[in-house]
């Protein structure tokens, strides 16, 4: 975990309104775990004041240059342009300087090898699932269920397929894959593969529906949550979420940045979680 003053290697629009940014981050991939995130300072001047949190999509190495330069270690984020911070980011280019704090937070527990896993991604919620799929696919059968409002919201599916992950796409308007909600696909898959563990990231109402399905069937579920964050390191306590057993007279808050962003479903109070506002600017903002 450190603060990197680094540069952008590339920043491309991959679908209308969605971007993929590659950052030079020496030493990052050794420590980054699936489900962790980073906080990016998008420009040196103000506003925006606060850093923006983004799920880590993947880390890797660019091959050594022919002029003898060593391999470059990089980190990729995918983000959706929704507000002031991401609008500025969309205009950044190769060579532009940014500051990145990370890797932060607790990631996914990869569970038992051999057990089948189902990953459920909603829109930009797909981001933290790629590193997880990389890690899981070496040891288990992995299926990705990917949902969005329309075809523009479906990202990077072929990259999951290259890992050997079976992918199923659904869109609300039927413009790609089958028409309907990703949670309907989840129900069908769980009918067929009842013992699978489920990992999910996406909008709160989707996570709420995934929770209800998994809870009814007693299927283990881990979710990656989005939250507004100021510090990203557990100091400000601005990003808390209600934990299991939370009550007015016995409040139990969990810090999304430090104790999450990945939680086991049973750690959380789901009674009103689905009503929480959506914060999604990148994956986690």
């Amino acid at each position: 975990m450190k603060n990197y003053k680094t540069i952008i290697l590339s920043n491309q629009e991959i679908s209308p309104g969605y971007y993929r940014m590659r950052l030079l981050t020496p030493g990052f991939s050794e420590s980054a775990r699936p489900g962790q995130f980073l906080m990016m300072r998008v420009q040196q001047s103000l506003p925006p004041l606060l850093r923006r949190p983004f799920g880590i999509f993947r880390t890797g190495f660019l091959p050594a240059d022919c002029d003898g330069m060593p391999p470059k270690e990089y980190t990729e984020i995918l983000y959706k342009v929704v507000g002031r911070g991401t609008n500025i980011m969309a205009d950044l280019h190769r060579g532009d300087k940014v500051e990145v704090l990370g890797p932060l937070g607790r990631g996914f527990d990869v569970g038992d090898p051999g057990e089948e896993k189902i990953l459920v991604g909603g829109g930009i919620g797909l981001v933290p699932l790629y590193m997880l799929a990389e890690s899981l696919s070496a040891r288990s059968k992995v299926r990705l269920l990917m949902g969005g409002r329309n075809r523009d919201d479906i990202l990077a599916v072929t990259e999951f397929e290259r890992l050997g992950v079976e992918t199923y796409v659904s869109t609300d308007d039927g413009s790609l894959g089958e028409e309907g909600l990703v949670t309907q696909v989840l129900e069908r898959k769980l009918d067929k593969f009842p013992s699978s563990s489920v990992y999910a990231c996406g909008p709160m109402p989707m996570l709420d529906a995934v929770y209800r399905i998994c809870h009814r069937r007693q299927v283990p579920l881990q979710v990656s949550l989005e939250a507004l964050m100021a510090c990203g390191v557990g100091a400000c306590l601005g990003c808390v979420v209600k934990g299991a057993g939370h009550a007015e007279d016995n409040p139990r808050y969990l810090c999304t940045c430090k104790q999450g962003p990945v939680f086991r479903a049973e750690q959380l109070d789901w009674s009103r979680l689905g009503e929480e506002p959506g914060y999604c600017e990148g994956c986690k903002s």
Binding site: N3, P47, M229, Y253, P277
Partner: protein, 300 residues
């Protein structure tokens, strides 16, 4: 660069503002904590406090609103779980605390007096986000005097009192806490503000209002620090929107003996180091041998 703030000597005048630096350990991976003048920990109460409902933060132009509601682990867990890290530091530890009642203020003060690792305390009578305690004591000179007096009687350490800007005349409160036995004053705490989501037409904070911090409040803070410095004899610590070295230098020029850095810690975890180095550089550039040649050097 060394300064004295009412019985406590700091090697330099830069420390975090309470609530923006956790209990210190959260920022240990990002900066050498022993290089800063002191650590100021998150507001502590006798019993653990859960804080306010979410959403608790909202970003505004050059500022942020927060309504955390003083969530903290309580004195006993602080001693058990947070003190071991703080004990290893060589820089002084200042513990910020508050109570729900006068009796609680006294009780926490007495408990903190027993802890040798606590170099000084900062009394919070100024949090805008809680109904009981906090700002209730900080907006009325009589109540502020009473709270500080109770703490003074129970405390054997240097006492810093943090004032709220949410009053008509901050100098009246400043004089009241000085008279009641404060060794120093830190000001300002956050300014009560509000933000609305225009789509849902609902407040962006569950608490409806919150405390505004960040560069947006700096001119207000600077003005109030200037006023308080004129009004009292005890040292004043300037707080409010300090991000760059020049911001801290402004506060020192108007007479602040030290400064606290808050929201900037979120923006850049090493900002206090940059500010310390920037002040040192400024002293060299201006040909000043001692920081006291800068403090209170405002020309009117």
């Amino acid at each position: 660069m060394a300064v004295d703030i009412g019985g406590l000597t700091l090697k330099n005048p830069v420390m975090p503002a309470s609530g923006t630096f956790g209990y210190g350990e959260e920022y240990a991976p990002f900066l050498d904590i022993n290089r800063i003048g002191a650590v100021v920990t998150k507001g502590l109460s006798l019993k653990p406090k859960a804080g306010n409902p979410t959403p608790r933060i909202a970003e505004t132009i050059s500022g942020m609103l927060n309504a955390i509601g003083l969530q903290n682990v309580g004195v006993e867990d602080f001693i058990k779980f947070k003190l071991p890290f703080l004990r290893e530091l060589t820089t002084p530890v200042i513990v910020n605390f508050f109570g729900n009642t006068l009796e609680e203020y006294g009780e926490v003060a007495a408990r903190l007096s027993e802890i040798p690792e606590v170099a000084a305390v900062e009394l919070n009578i100024s949090c805008p986000n809680v109904k009981k305690g906090g700002i209730v004591f900080g907006t009325d000179p009589k109540a502020a005097h009473e709270a500080v007096s109770v703490v003074r009687r129970n405390l054997s350490k240097p006492l810093m009192v943090k004032l709220t800007p949410n009053v008509t005349d901050i100098t009246v409160i400043a004089r009241a806490v000085e008279e009641a036995g404060a060794d120093s004053i830190s000001c300002i705490n956050t300014i009560t503000g509000m933000a609305v989501d225009i789509k849902t037409r609902r407040p962006r904070l569950a608490n409806r209002t919150g405390g505004l911090s960040g560069p947006a409040i700096r001119p207000v803070a600077l003005r109030m620090v200037h006023q308080v410095v004129q009004a009292v004899k005890i040292p004043v610590i300037g707080v409010g929107g300090i991000v760059r070295p020049m911001d801290a230098i402004e506060f020192l020029i108007v007479g602040a003996r030290a400064v606290q850095v808050g929201t900037a810690n979120f923006v850049d975890p090493a900002s206090m180091i940059t500010i310390i180095e920037g002040i040192e550089q400024f002293l060299i550039e201006e040909g000043l041998k001692d920081i006291h040649q800068l403090i209170g050097s405002l020309e009117l």
